[in-house]
């Protein structure tokens, strides 16, 4: 008997494949733009100072750490909450969360970072917590949605065969929710890297520092190259996660 009709299956792989092609192409284009700016625009000493390789390198590492750490934190917090909230007996809490999460997207990340700064002081840790709070939403929402869309008949069959509730969660529900959850994690990672660019505002370092210096000192090449660098970084992380998404998808889905 035939599989789910070709059009839908095809579209999904086409989209996946396109993602994996277009993202690198874009990154390359940005790289070319950045390279062109470096080579052909007026690079005076101030600019050179701003774009010193060691500086850029440090900032790059900082941005990566910020993005990565906040993502890990989010995963560790949001997924258990998502699991807890979808267990029987908490439908009202879950509905409340899902409704609120929609609106919460309007929270300015900028404001959050600064507020956390006022509470926790300066440094990368502050930024990590702020970012985690902000990107909690997509992961939590996707965990909830992902778990809810698992076919009830499959869960019922699992329980009827003698799986304990825990076994049902880990062997049936989570594996089947993985595609949706990972999509949420991907969004969170992208948000985190992106917002990590703002870390400079609160002394958290990162590539935003270069952009900011460029703005303050009115050096367009610095602004551009800084922007390009952090953009390429985000694209790389998105690409890596997209690849992971592809490989972590359970077979047979």
């Amino acid at each position: 008997m035939t599989v789910i009709g070709p059009p839908i299956a095809q579209r999904q792989t086409l989209a996946e494949r396109l993602d994996l092609i277009v993202t690198p192409i874009f990154a390359v284009i940005l790289g070319i733009v950045g390279g062109a700016v470096w080579l052909y625009s007026d690079i005076d000493d101030t600019t050179r100072a701003i774009l010193a390789p060691e500086k850029l390198y440090t900032q790059l590492i900082e941005t990566i750490i910020l993005g990565f750490a906040s993502s890990v934190l989010v995963i560790l917090v949001a997924i258990p909450i998502g699991i807890a909230v979808t267990r029987r007996g908490l439908p009202r809490l879950k509905n409340f969360l899902v409704d609120t999460l929609g609106l919460a997207q309007a929270l300015p990340a900028y404001g959050l970072i600064v507020l956390f700064f006022s509470w926790l002081g300066t440094g990368m840790f502050t930024v990590i917590v702020a970012l985690a709070t902000f990107s909690l939403l997509p992961v939590l929402r996707n965990t909830i949605v992902g778990l809810e869309q698992v076919d009830q008949a499959v869960i019922e069959a699992g329980r009827g065969m003698g799986y304990t509730k825990r076994q049902v969660l880990f062997q049936i529900e989570l594996p089947l929710a993985v595609p949706v959850i990972i999509a949420g994690i991907r969004t969170a990672i992208v948000i985190n890297i992106g917002m990590a660019a703002l870390a400079f505002l609160v002394g958290g370092g990162g590539l935003g520092e270069t952009i900011n210096s460029g703005l303050k000192l009115d050096r367009n090449p610095a602004i551009l190259i800084g922007a390009v660098l952090v953009a390429i970084l985000a694209l790389i992380f998105d690409f890596i996660t997209a690849v992971a998404q592809r490989y972590l998808k359970p077979k047979g889905m």
Partner: protein, 218 residues
């Protein structure tokens, strides 16, 4: 409790600035939603038949959303300078995907038999589009517009960093003056006003939804 009072008095005394901030922020929201909405919906309509074009449009617009907001706000400065222009462009590019994706999903999700009937009755393709497809897809499209609206409200706070104005000004000022008087209140004011604006816009969109969606499909 003290803080609330302090916050309240801060906001009460800055009536003009709040007004300016809200207006500037709202201008971003409205102008971007209109232009991005028009662009995305048109793109969605134009590419709906061609799978490759559709997926390409989705991929590209989703990349915009992947780019860090600060990068997108600043990358066009060498071209258009500071202020409203780069902010607008950045917000425009950000808002494309949610509306585009929902336009496509909305159009795809229409029951085929309805289209068949329309065509069978003698409607030309354009009439089918305008009289049947778009109205039926509108609820989903509107949902996408809502997502974009929320995104814009949140991200437009960054416009302040490129001299673009908006409610982010309060946050920036507050940050600069920490820990002096009223700095914290300023930051909270900026943040909370964003949320407030989001609620108002959400309400407006709900009303729009009521007004424009036929009761038969609500």
């Amino acid at each position: 409790m003290d803080f609330f009072l302090s916050l309240w008095s801060f906001m009460a005394s800055r009536g003009d600035e709040i007004q300016t901030g809200l207006i500037e922020h709202s201008i971003y929201v409205v102008s971007v939603l209109l232009s991005a909405g028009l662009f995305s919906i048109t793109t969605g309509i134009l590419t709906r038949r061609n799978v490759l074009a559709k997926e390409l449009a989705l991929s590209i617009t989703s990349i915009f959303l992947t780019l860090p907001s600060l990068a997108l706000f600043t990358i066009f400065i060498p071209l258009v300078g500071l202020g409203f222009a780069p902010s607008f462009i950045a917000l425009f590019l950000y808002s494309l995907l949610p509306i585009l994706r929902n336009t496509i999903t909305g159009l795809d999700g229409i029951d085929y038999s309805v289209l068949d009937a329309a065509r069978g009755m003698g409607m030309a393709p354009r009439q089918v589009l305008l009289r049947v497809q778009l109205p039926l897809a509108w609820p989903v499209i509107l949902a996408g517009i809502r997502v974009s609206a929320m995104l814009i409200v949140g991200i437009a706070a960054i416009a302040t960093l490129v001299a673009g104005g908006g409610l982010g000004d309060f946050i920036k000022d507050g940050l600069a003056r920490l820990p002096l008087a009223n700095s914290l209140e300023s930051i909270w004011a900026g943040t909370l006003l964003c949320v407030l604006l989001a609620l108002v816009i959400d309400l407006a969109l709900q009303l729009l939804k009521r007004a424009t969606i036929s009761r038969g499909i609500r």
